[in-house]
């Protein structure tokens, strides 16, 4: 029972820390010149995502494999609860894959044009937050995107206007 309580306490604390960290990032407005993120070419990870549904207690959870290839784009291979592969090649315009590609290519001009940037770095861990500018296409659907990582991207948190929040966690990442 004690062990269980410790686990619950640890989960609550870490959730609180993450939430605080996420809110805190908007205290750090930044410009492209001050942002440093490791440049990735090809990365493989496991992902798990949780989507909240507005006005509902239900969650939508899924997980699978994530691949980022600098030249080809972003691939989400969902293995649970349905098997499906969603790929966004570099010439397609999906907002999230576009952001991932822009971050990986250090295309801060693109990010700066479309988003207000917020950045914070503690040791090797960094957090980049993007809030769509009113002129951006993303403004009508997205509130903010918070990307955090170290050597690799660890988490993406997407806050939308109508469709709740999505958190994508990346684990077991390896570059090749």
């Amino acid at each position: 029972m004690k062990k269980f309580l410790w686990i619950i306490t640890a989960i609550l604390l870490s959730s609180y820390t993450i939430t605080m960290a996420q809110d805190g990032i908007f205290q750090h407005p930044s410009s492209p010149n001050n942002i440093y993120i490791p440049k990735y070419k090809n990365v493989n990870c496991k992902f798990s995502q949780t989507k909240t549904i507005p006005n509902s207690q239900a969650y939508i959870k899924s997980s699978g494999n994530f691949k980022f290839q600098n030249t080809n784009g972003v691939i989400f291979e969902t293995t649970y609860p349905v098997k499906t592969t969603t790929s966004y090649t570099t010439d397609q315009n999906n907002r999230i894959s576009g952001i991932i590609t822009a971050v990986s290519n250090r295309d801060y001009s693109y990010l700066n044009k479309n988003f207000d940037l917020f950045y914070n770095k503690v040791n090797s861990d960094w957090t980049l937050a993007l809030r769509p500018k009113t002129s951006s296409k993303a403004h009508s659907v997205m509130k903010s995107v918070i990307i955090s990582g170290g050597d690799f991207i660890k988490q993406i948190n997407i806050n939308t206007i109508n469709s709740g929040d999505t958190t994508i966690n990346f684990t077991q990442c390896s570059a090749y």
Binding site: F47, A58, S62, N70, N93, N105, T160, N162
Partner: protein, 706 residues
């Protein structure tokens, strides 16, 4: 009488000149407008071509994504916003409308599945959308649990990407829409595009390359090149004439009246074309530089003979036959050729008037050489054999080419840019159009839906794709409701019972998405309130489109078909033209002499076509039209030879050499249409000259007078 005519000529020239000065005509640089006119019966082709000819695509290429973005922003900051607007699709406006009426909307694919009641597939696809980590819900799940609005929007086609990564290079595309007022003034537009090219040079460096595509860019480069070519041809022609005067007349005094007659000839041609046509195509100016070569003939004949009475008959017949040959171009149905005809006919007639009205007033002392070139008899047989063999054998190898796309070959740089743009935008499909007419928008939308019903959605863009007809909107609502009835309870455990009940009991509100001019896209598809256009991609069989009452338009094919019809009618007219000319000449001369006069032209025409066949060159409309010009010029040489004047041999040689030189220069011009004419006219005139040497006209001295 002559005095009165002299004053009248000057007065007409001054009055019309002042009129044109006060009502200046635009210079047309659009390549397509060279080959079809706004007066054409198929005005929709013109309308569609205009619609798609005012866009410029700017492609910024860099090895760095950030540099590409920066340069694109710099480029945008530097362009004149009054001239170039950025083509921006305001998706937010239409998205709000779609959200409001989402239950009336279904993608074609989903609609077909729902009609067939394939609910398992629909739910399976809805799960895929639901669990997609990077998908967005445009509406809360309790309003659209199957995310059918996302499915509908995805079916409309992909949005323009912000940045494209291709072969390790990053590309940014800026689509510029030329302001309508500037698009109507090619001179102004070319000035603005010149500024764009300067910006292009300023921003290009080792890391960045900027490409341009689009009709205005092609027009700019073609017209800039044409202007340079006009200057070079004029300069070389003048140098040739100065050299000729100095060599033959051993005097440069003649240059003044010759230059003045040429200037007035070109000016009068310009005035006539300005009065008759709304705009003059830049290629008309290119071709009309050959007026120098033609107009100088009359001056040369006069200054060689020094007696107007000796040459007046030949000069008049020559003028009439040449003007008649150019007059045939008026019936070609090709705007450019009509302009060339008016420009050249007026110029020729005015130079003729100058020679007969003013030259006798000039008193100059000069001592011309005497060349008196005569072909040896042995050479005559050899030349005759070669000409006849080429004409006969060549006719077996001839092939026709009426494809408009082969008439203009862009530069390598422009071609590379066009290919790159097609690759980046995925726009390398063959585009055709369907024109739909209806009494009102609802009828148009229903007709469009019938036409596109069996087409894959990627094969067309139409207004009805973005705004379905009211009938379809209601059907979509009912189909969706059937889906809910059959699957919602098992599909959506994430919804509360109350939310599920609300969805199941919802009734159609009788409210529809209406065609509203404020919505984006509307003006892209509506030509007017009763006509819409469907843009089709890679359509192999347009039968279903035509069966449903639409007009199918394949612009290059339609223009090529018109060119083919025009070529066939021009070919059919050749023999009647020869017969008419023979009758006219038989009235003026004896039939035997008329035959001698007309034969060189027939030989020159058949030789030229035969030579094209032997060389493997495909014969186009413009080669056929050149035959008429060869007839006109060829007749001149024979008509003057038939006058049997003492120095006529020199006069014909000199006039032929000036004409041949001008046309020879045209073969080096970049526009295929013009260099086609240049090549065939050069060979045709040389053969006309040589064949006019084959006949002896000495026996015709006692023939009838004009």
């Amino acid at each position: 009488m002559k005095k009165f005519l002299r004053i009248l000529f000057i007065l007409i020239l001054i009055i019309t000149g002042i009129f044109v000065l006060n009502n200046p005509t635009n210079t047309e640089t659009n390549i397509l407008k060279a080959v079809f006119s706004n007066n054409t019966a198929d005005s929709t082709v013109v309308e569609l071509s205009n619609r798609y000819s005012s866009k410029i695509n700017v492609i910024i290429e860099s090895s760095s994504a950030e540099i590409a973005e920066k340069k694109a922003q710099e480029f945008y900051n530097l362009i004149d916003k009054k001239t170039f607007g950025i083509e921006k699709f305001d998706s937010s406006k239409i998205l709000e409308t779609y959200k409001k009426y989402n239950k009336n909307l279904l993608s074609t694919y989903t609609r077909q599945k729902l009609i067939k009641k394939e609910y398992n597939e629909i739910t399976s696809e809805a799960f895929t959308r639901l669990y997609n980590p990077v998908s967005f819900m445009l509406l809360p799940l309790n309003e659209d649990p199957y995310m059918l609005l996302e499915d509908y929007i995805q079916s409309l086609g992909k949005d323009n990407p912000d940045l494209i990564n291709l072969n390790n290079k990053f590309y940014k595309i800026i689509m510029l829409e030329v302001n309508k007022s500037k698009a109507l003034s090619p001179d102004l537009l070319n000035g603005e595009i010149k500024k764009l090219t300067k910006t292009q040079q300023e921003l290009s460096d080792k890391n960045t390359t900027i490409y341009f595509t689009g009709t205005p860019i092609h027009s700019y480069y073609a017209s800039s090149k044409a202007k340079t070519e006009i200057n070079i041809i004029c300069l070389l022609s003048l140098i040739f004439i100065i050299g000729l005067c100095y060599f033959y007349f051993r005097s440069l005094k003649l240059l003044a009246p010759i230059a003045l007659s040429l200037a007035i000839g070109i000016l009068s041609g310009y005035i006539a074309a300005s009065i008759i046509f709304k705009s003059i195509h830049v290629l008309t100016f290119v071709f009309s530089t050959t007026l120098i070569g033609i107009c100088i003939d009359y001056s040369l004949h006069y200054f060689i003979e020094k007696d107007l009475s000796k040459i007046i008959k030949s000069l008049t017949i020559s003028m009439i036959t040449t003007v008649s040959a150019f007059a045939v171009l008026l019936f070609s149905g090709v705007e450019l050729l009509k302009q060339i005809a008016v420009f050249t006919m007026t110029g020729l007639f005015c130079v003729y008037l100058i020679v007969i009205l003013y030259y006798p007033l000039i008193n100059l002392n000069y001592n011309p050489r005497k060349i008196n070139f005569v072909l040896p008899n042995k050479s005559k047989k050899f030349i005759a054999t070669i000409i006849i063999l080429t004409a006969v054998f060549g006719l077996f190898y001839h092939k026709f080419d009426d494809d408009i796309r082969n008439m203009y070959i862009p530069s390598r740089t422009l071609l590379k840019a066009e290919n790159l743009f097609n690759e980046l935008s995925g726009n390398n499909k063959k585009t055709t159009f369907a024109i739909v007419e209806g009494k009102n928008i609802e009828e148009i939308l229903q007709k469009e839906e019938n036409i596109t019903e069996k087409l894959p959605t990627s094969n067309y863009q139409a207004l009805s794709k973005f705004i379905p007809s009211k009938i379809k909107q209601k059907e979509n609502f009912e189909l969706r409701k059937e889906l809910y009835k059959n699957t919602l309870k098992s599909y959506a455990p994430f919804l509360t019972e109350n939310e599920i009940n609300l969805l199941l009991t919802e009734k159609f509100s009788d409210k529809f998405i209406e065609v509203d001019n404020n919505l984006p896209l509307i003006n892209d598809f509506l030509i007017n309130k009763n006509t819409s256009v469907i843009v089709l991609y890679d359509i192999k069989n347009p039968d279903n489109i035509i069966k449903n009452g639409a007009k199918y338009i394949d612009i290059p094919k339609d223009i090529s078909q018109r060119i083919k019809e025009c070529r066939i009618s021009c070919v059919k007219m050749i023999i009647p033209v020869f017969i008419i000319l023979f009758i006219i000449l038989s009235i003026i001369y004896k039939p035997k002499t008329a035959l001698k006069i007309i034969l060189p032209s027939i030989l020159a025409a058949t030789f030229s076509i035969g030579l094209l066949g032997i060389l493997g060159q495909q014969i186009n409309l413009f080669h056929i039209l050149a035959i008429y010009l060869i007839i006109g010029f060829g007749l001149d040489y024979s008509v003057f030879r038939a006058s049997c004047l003492e120095k006529v041999s020199d006069a014909v040689l000199l006039s032929c050499s000036t004409s041949v030189f001008s046309f020879f220069l045209l073969t080096f011009t970049s526009f295929k249409l013009i260099n086609s004419l240049g090549f065939i006219l050069t060979t045709g005139l040389i053969v006309s000259y040589l064949t006019s040497n084959l006949f002896n006209y000495e026996n015709n001295r006692q023939e009838k007078k004009l």
